[in-house]
Symmetry: C2
Subunit: 153 residues, 2 copies
């Protein structure tokens, strides 16, 4: 298994994971639209944002089976340490139940720690109760309510 920053070559596989709810989406079938292209370039150019992929096998160019995004947020609290925000955590539908999600999260937390972050935070939809147990087992405290306001309705 490898855990590394996604490159432009990984974008179809990452978009396939984001589109994958319960069935595997073939990266070969993904059309990379201009908005995704631009968003990926923005993330890649930003030193405080990264899309990370978990790949199968020992070679770094193995098949992408998981992904997440980390955002490092500077702030005035916590002695000036950044906090890491985790978004868009995905494991490929046919590879769930093998502990890959936990591995992905552990690698992300370790990465944030190596960078010097004081905190890792994320939100999970209230309906996803299995995910809540998963994050608690990883040591996260379910201490906050998560609020969202859509601006596109």
């Amino acid at each position: 298994m490898n855990f590394r920053e996604a490159t432009r070559r990984d974008l179809p596989a990452v978009l396939a994971l984001l589109a994958d709810e319960d069935e595997v989406v073939d990266p070969g079938s993904v059309v990379v639209d201009e908005a995704s292209e631009r968003a990926f370039a923005s993330i890649a150019a930003d030193a405080r944002n990264e899309v990370l992929v978990l790949t199968d096998g020992d070679a770094p160019d193995g098949v992408v089976i998981g992904c997440l995004q980390l955002t490092y947020i500077p702030g005035l609290g916590q002695g000036g340490r950044e906090r890491a925000l985790v978004e868009a955590v995905r494991v490929r539908a046919d590879r769930r139940g093998e502990g890959l999600g936990a591995e992905l999260m552990r690698l992300a937390v370790a990465r944030a720690g190596e960078r010097g972050c004081g905190l890792v935070q994320l939100t999970s939809n209230k309906r996803r109760t299995a995910a809540h147990r998963f994050y608690e087992q990883l040591g996260f405290a379910r201490s906050h309510e998560g609020f969202k306001l859509s601006l596109t309705d």
Copy 2:
């Protein structure tokens, strides 16, 4: 009232607000430590982060009575739109109950909308039930659980 990006001159007043739980902290008594100095410079230099202040009166250099931080997060979802994360919302202890918090949040949401964000999100500690009603009244959906993992314990 003015709503604008904080400058280095506002830093003591912002740190006073962050230290203010139930009693006003005099900005004149705040010693700006090196970590805060560095963190503020990082935020000011980052096009996706800003500390915003609400000031009293018509002049833009009025007394700081509220603040918050906005982080604009690029992502592959939502047609490539950024989402805005709100952190560190504060209103000065002796000015609460006047609707300034709602005004501050409305201005922040409007700012995120003008920038083209698709979503505004925040988390609030589960103990702060009055804050939860406040965010719901502003139109936020309490749809998520917020998880935190401290890396400094």
